[in-house]
Symmetry: C2
Subunit: 547 residues, 2 copies
């Protein structure tokens, strides 16, 4: 603190002075020219400063580092360290990460791995403790965190991760309520309104990132929730929410990515993309930036983040424009960490021994998939483009149907569930994946049992995504860590994933249907209308398994 | 929590339902009609609710309880309990109190007394730990709180009270910096700008209630400070600050009263007055209310205060108008505590034995005040109407001069300081008071030594304010607690104080000069230009005693 004061008073040189920048003042909504003095990773002065170590900004903008308020790093398919290398050049300096996916597979070992990997990079990754492991009782997960575990682990985490068990809350389930520890608890309450919403908020849950429309969003804001406007790879909410805000409600909103694939971040950005998109849709640049900085910091009680002002963390973006398409430098705690789109730091490998080999299955033969519906007409799944919601339809056996099977893979319990998808389009081929929200069992889809067995066997102990055709493996992206995350650099993962996408189209996957994420969400028994888990076909509307 | 959830879900009746109110929604800036369900002192639902215990509001406004963000209860001249009875009918449900005055007299006993008295009433009084006891080294106080004391006591307090020692901070005085504990530290930085302000904020101090003008206020906001717009009895800042705000900077502002006499609160209000005055000056009613509620709660991290929403404290004002001139009910934690201007709760007496008899002086004789300046012309004090700033002027002995003497009264050290005031106007009389910021020594002013001795002796061991004329005591308001606070009900204190004011005018105190507060601030050696303490006459501009 003394060094900050001494620097501010001019008795000591700042570690770094950013000269002649245009300061984005989130507190007044103004932009003004000044120098920024930095010492010990903190901003200690905004005014006229000089130092032996100066960077002349020549009038570029000085913008607080962006904050992603809710996300699952696992959905990027790369390690926290690789994630940081990709996202920091985009100006993201802090993320609030919920390691919900890896924990459903690896339990506490997953939490430890994520934290260890995060420690190797300058990105400020604040970990929430997952509250719903397993997510539902309708599937088998790899691990469970009880209320007792939650109580024991909570002090080491930033807060409690999204509480998806809305029925548990409003019905006062003892175990569920016991997990609500502290005053930083993320919510997850799609379509919840009225009395149910009052009850959910009364439990002390103060954020939501699942607003389907502006009416729902505005009710949640009125009732005291902060809204995390989500722009993920599959769920894109920004365009239909952002224009529902006024200057009052804007104060209660920020951005998050939730589930965003590393390739999309690389190509389009992350929270910087949210700012661009908001501006495109008519939001004032300063307001979009305030959402991504000050509002986010305020919501999560991060008093030293979100502004260019004395005593704030020196998390700073230098950009030629307010749309952040021309970010020239990113500083984290006063250290230059990215320049002209490239991260300037290296990552050191993290021990992965406790989170690999997470797939526990014997060799599968084609007759594993022998399954016939009991009647001529049976309930089937229709995928809908650009959403994870599915439609329950009536089908009969035909060439256009794809068979899907979800196989428990954590403890080799031998459970499997079958279903049929009407419009996936796959021909003479199969796709298998170990990403299956939220328990991440193996999902395999195909039109013949030979390819289905081949694709599952290709995953081996590691998991990943594999495509087989006519009995041969065409592509395989191993996801060695928990069957969710690659050990490879982001660029390799992106390139391999691009190939997978191309191949999926070649084997017939319907245009408009995302080939892998549409599979990954098939087992999630809380999203309407029909799902399939390792325990069977599930009617979400009736909330029961289909015989 | 279960009861809140059960009530929200309609499985249980609310303890109280306020029906058909117009809800002031601080989050959206809107006003809408709804019922408010309350259970266990918390709001658990805003919508359609019913209960065995309903109050039909017939369309009256439902407004969050107001928050006074910085104040010294001692300046009201009544106990915390009496203060609560006066202020709660005005809609104030939370105050952040800095017991700086009584601590300067009684040390930790003063802190304990204030907390004990506060416990007897429903007003939520959050105590800050005074950081500057004594306030300066240029006077003798009754007690001292060292950095070590501060460290020991801080966990039992809401935060650290206003850090007035700006030079100590910017010069990195070890003892001063050590007092900055935690992240809720109030500032006090009049006229501080530029590098000094950067340094002060870098120390982690994030509020200020001493802005002299809008330029100073806006610089402080830009640099991350929250601004507490003050409307005290002597220092009235609202009118010259409130119109300097825009929708962005407004978010960082709230109200405080700092030092406000109980009579003024009774007649004009407190934070409710700030709202009225702001509306009068052109601020939108919703914005004025947001400042007094949501902004205040946000600044001080009181997550459950400042809004009418589920999980919030049921601190609620029912009013017929948004200017709060027609408050019909005030609820605190769901309990009706005031109705139509009257408090509905009784106070129980607090043990005062450790904070009485704080004046330690022998009997004073007229020759105690024998004092003559050494030269024909000498420096004297000119009082300025409506401010505590004084002017240093040159004077010579004449009938129009008043003699002032400040006498150490805590430990009978025998120190005294003399000065002359040019425009106080008192004739054949004297006024003595034990209120003398911030060390609260005895101040006596008069035009003859007999009356001066008489007035001081009248204070006895208790202190208070006394007026003597021609050797007789005309009025005496005893302030038994620390010489600052009366043990009497507010109404009696107000009535007695009115008599004192009337008598002061009768003995000649100049119109426009507040007779007692102008004296009370005479010893404060940090306010320009010339002061007198028990250690002598002090030139504030030169920051040294005058020979």
């Amino acid at each position: 603190m003394k060094q900050l004061i001494d620097t501010a008073m001019g008795r000591r040189n700042g570690d770094l002075v950013l000269k002649n920048g245009k300061i984005i003042d989130v507190f007044s909504g103004n932009i003004f020219t000044a120098d920024v003095a930095i010492t010990d990773g903190k901003i200690c002065g905004v005014g006229n400063y000089s130092s032996d170590n100066e960077a002349d900004l020549h009038g570029k903008y000085v913008i607080p580092g962006l904050i992603d308020t809710h996300m699952h790093i696992e959905s990027s398919m790369v390690t926290p360290a690789e994630y940081a290398k990709t996202v920091m050049p985009h100006g993201i300096t802090t993320v609030i990460a919920d390691p919900h996916e890896i924990t459903n597979v690896c339990g506490e070992n997953g939490l430890k791995f994520m934290k260890k990997s995060a420690e190797t990079v300058p990105l400020d990754i604040k970990f929430m403790l997952p509250s719903c492991v397993p997510a539902t009782p309708f599937e088998h997960s790899g691990a469970a965190l009880t209320a007792e575990d939650t109580k024991r682990l909570a002090p080491d985490f930033f807060g409690i991760g999204e509480m998806m068990n809305y029925p548990g809350i409003v019905n006062c389930d003892e175990e569920t309520l016991s997990k609500l520890i502290g005053d930083r608890i993320d919510g997850h309450a799609p379509m919840l309104t009225g009395n149910g919403l009052d009850a959910y908020i009364s439990a002390g849950i103060k954020t939501d990132h699942e607003c389907g429309n502006t009416e729902e969003m505005l009710e949640k804001i009125s009732k005291g929730m902060y809204i995390l406007i989500r722009e993920g790879t599959l769920s894109k909410d920004l365009a239909h929410l952002i224009n529902g805000l006024n200057p009052y409600t804007l104060r209660r909103c920020m951005f998050c990515t939730d589930d965003r694939f590393i390739g999309e971040i690389h190509r389009s950005g992350s929270i910087d993309y949210c700012i661009r998109e908001s501006i495109e849709l008519g939001i004032k640049p300063i307001d979009a930036i305030i959402m991504a900085t000050q509002n986010a910091a305020e919501c999560y009680g991060m008093k030293q983040k979100g502004a260019i002002a004395p005593s704030y963390d020196a998390d700073i973006i230098i950009s030629e424009d307010l749309s952040l398409t021309k970010i020239t430098q990113v500083y984290k705690d006063g250290i230059l960490v990215a320049q002209n789109g490239a991260a300037l730091f290296d990552t050191t490998p993290t021990d992965i021994s406790s989170v690999i080999n997470s797939v526990h299955l014997p060799k599968i033969t084609p007759n594993f998939f022998a399954f016939m519906p009991k009647s001529e007409f049976f309930p089937a799944i229709e995928l809908i483009p650009d959403t994870i919601v599915t439609k329950k339809v009536s089908a009969k056996i035909s060439d256009s149907l794809s068979k899907v099977c979800v196989i428990e893979r954590h403890h080799n319990l031998g459970t499997k569930g079958f279903g049929f998808v009407t419009n996936y389009g796959i021909k003479n081929a199969a796709i298998a994946t170990s990403i299956g929200h939220d328990s991440h069992n193996i999902i395999v889809i195909g039109d013949n049992d030979v390819d289905m067995a081949e694709a599952v066997n290709a995953l081996g102990k590691s998991g990943g995504i594999a495509i087989s055709k006519n009995g041969e493996i065409l592509e395989h992206l191993p996801l060695e860590i928990a069957g969710l995350i690659s050990t490879k650099p982001a660029a390799e993962v992106i390139s391999q994933h691009d190939k997978l996408c191309k191949t999926a189209r070649e084997i017939g996957v319907t245009d408009g249907i995302e080939p892998f994420l549409s599979l990954a969400f098939l087992p999630l028994p809380v999203i309407p209308e029909i799902r399939v888990t390792d325990m069977g076909l599930f009617d979400v509307t009736k909330f029961e398994f289909i015989e």
